[in-house]
Symmetry: C2
Subunit: 519 residues, 2 copies
Amino acid sequence: MTESDLPVVQLTPGRWGDPAHPVDLPAAAVDALKHLGVRRPAAGPVDPVDRPGLTAEQLSFLAGVVGAEHVTTDLDSRWAHTRGYSTPDLLRHRAGDTSDMPDAVVYPGSHDEVLAVLAACSDHNLAVVPSSGGTSVVGGLAASRRFVTVDLRRLDQLVEVDEVSRTATLQAGVRGPAAESLLADRGYTLGHFPQSYEGASIGGYAAARSSGQSSAGYGRFDQMVVGLTLATPRGTVELGRAPMSAAGPDLRQLVLGSEGAFGIITSVVVRIRPRPTERHFEGWRFENFEAGLTAIRRLAQDGPLPTVLRLSDEAETAVNLADPDVLGGGTGGVLAIVGFDGPYTQATADVLTAAGGQNVGEGPGETWRVGRYRAPYLRDPLLDEGALVETLETAAFWSKVPALKAAVTGALVSSLTDQGTPPLVLCHVSHVYDTGASLYFTVISAQTHDPIGQWRTAKAAASQAIAAAGGTISHHHGVGTDHREAYAEEIGPLAVEALRAVKQVLDPSHVLNPGILLT
Amino acid sequence: MTESDLPVVQLTPGRWGDPAHPVDLPAAAVDALKHLGVRRPAAGPVDPVDRPGLTAEQLSFLAGVVGAEHVTTDLDSRWAHTRGYSTPDLLRHRAGDTSDMPDAVVYPGSHDEVLAVLAACSDHNLAVVPSSGGTSVVGGLAASRRFVTVDLRRLDQLVEVDEVSRTATLQAGVRGPAAESLLADRGYTLGHFPQSYEGASIGGYAAARSSGQSSAGYGRFDQMVVGLTLATPRGTVELGRAPMSAAGPDLRQLVLGSEGAFGIITSVVVRIRPRPTERHFEGWRFENFEAGLTAIRRLAQDGPLPTVLRLSDEAETAVNLADPDVLGGGTGGVLAIVGFDGPYTQATADVLTAAGGQNVGEGPGETWRVGRYRAPYLRDPLLDEGALVETLETAAFWSKVPALKAAVTGALVSSLTDQGTPPLVLCHVSHVYDTGASLYFTVISAQTHDPIGQWRTAKAAASQAIAAAGGTISHHHGVGTDHREAYAEEIGPLAVEALRAVKQVLDPSHVLNPGILLT
């Protein structure tokens, strides 16, 4: 079973993952929640109450562009396109909150239809939120005024494979598993496997600068993109005549990460690689997080890097391992996962051994591989039990990583403890570079009476800690609405003004994703 | 002798390279020129005639910012800052043409002084051209209205080395050899060795997206930069909290390549690597360019890449090798140069052998290594002899490279033959990526009575051929004024408008590099 065999999952609104394969909480986990004071809520989810959508007149111009059969206004369709999958999103969904619901969903079938939809919406001053997989966890689908969703699922083609250049042209609406399957038929892989893989799409990867679990071997999505086509209300922008160029700024990198605020990416040209014929995943134990960090930094700086390289801290190692004997019978220590697409690289293992690592075999590696997309499935049953559970992530240069981890952990613990709900905070490194690494935090606590406000407070404390410790507000989730203020502080007022000026050129009516990325 | 031992060269105006070590044309080369119809010109270079510079009043505000001793208006100083080192630049220099001469040269000593100079020049509506090494070959120093040059040579510090993150903070005015020497003292290398290495500076590398001869091993300069500080007339922009981020577009890549039109890069944070303790350079022979291209593509796509990887075509191989026996006694064939910083990698050699390559030993490798910065020295004595000699470069995806090479060669041959001066056109690949490669052309012919117009015509034909064949107008020389129109066509009118909008925000008085990159 490889990534190309996985089915595309049609996500259920308000609940992550494949509804046919839910994850049940282990009884031990339910018991453990009691130690955090978690209590099962009395009330269950509330059904959404519809509110008036677009008028018939407004709909007619959309139907005129894409055909009446490709415009939907029923509650189910609009509710399914409401928000993404952050914990606040899920909580609002459970509360039946329709405040961020689109007025209609439009399904264009081509780049030209996207262009025409954008031009028409500009003329009618109707806001537009593009959606590919709809898997945002940073409020990337919640515009600040009424809007229609442009769902790109009909742009689902592998347009071209250039075997000499090892590039593929993929439309924005191709979902992760579909892309792998289409490429596998030709003997290739993209190698992009974010945790949202089952639901997310090519366009979203590009718009939000996604990074996948195999980034050590295949790079981030923004490193894979060598060309792109952007539909804007004013026309098309096409970029990328060569892998790299000195012809001005690299404008591909201005579009990647623009999160739909500058236009809708309708297709990308991406680097592809031959499908690996073998794979190996194994676990490595280190005495503590610091030792593990030194070891993976050595690989990141001097190589040879494996394809997957992840390091859990002590807390995450303890929680994730049902059986502590996995770590060689010792108590404590931390677990790293090391994966190879292709032959096993002994030189990588040698570096880890020299850095004090102990190979604990394929067991933990295979456990991680099999469950690599399942962790987010746990959040919904945890919320069912009354727990507050959410993740956040950042990145920094290596010298700042230890203090950054301590600062964010401290901020989360302080904030939630102050609110009467002391949390468990878990952390891992999942993306490494020669000059730095990412940190990914998972937080679990009891809910207060206002879990959305509770998390807002904790997240604000974490965000301030990230900025003070010199980290970036997001390594791979993006900005959306949740990180907008922190992002503005990170790049500074002149850079924000420059981005607004770019938006003004491409989207003069300000219909594209209002309130997302930029105010 | 390694790169860190090379001296910084104080370039002579209008003549490339270290005046203490000129290169004489071999007698055989002089004879060969006769076959192209090259005739030694009757007249020699003409001295420049001064023209009025700034008024005393205008100077006083600059002196007030940086001190009177850091403002110069004498002819020698201004003439030394006139234009760069393209062949048209050298020809204009020989003609004593002072039309592009700055009115003054200002030498700020800090980021804050650069800020103050920019603010003051904005207030006085005085155009500013930043200059680090002054080595542009695309008209990057020739503003479209009267200007002062801001020479950054006093910003010459290695500010910080972060050994854990393997980054260094370097000021913009540090010259290539100085950067290597400063880093070598700490045991590190930047690994950036463009052909302009002896004269070019960190700020110019960044502003023009430079790529060095060791790019296969160390990457391009824009891939080395993880942080930067930009001084603009409206204040400072600081970017780069992590190696990579999903917090919006990568704005570092918007500043890199902006060629002084958005602001002056005053320092960068760059990735560094441990100094190699050994180096190996060798030559490889392939039957023809096509076979060599397939071989180096294999290394670029499946590895392992060496540090230096270059492939000359048949014409360049024949011209560069005084002794055809270098290629194993055969006649014909093409030469590749393969260099390793660090241990020799047999696996690389195995790939080349499997692709039909023949190892012709260290001789050609060492010859290339020793002369790696000397080729541009030949241009001046060739011009002295009356030859027209110039280079241009492009890049494209691998599948387009052969047709691109044919199209550009054809355009140059046609254009110059039509002008009565049939040329010799040489080509090599010097930068490879998994999805494509660069092509670098050298053109030699006799001069017509108007060599600047002659080259303009040939270059226009080559640029049209590049665009038609799907290449980028520059892989590592930049846009400047020479490529401005081709660049605008390459990115399209909406992208140009977006860049103008960014400039309008950062440089509302339009004093920064008017006419460079953008009209």
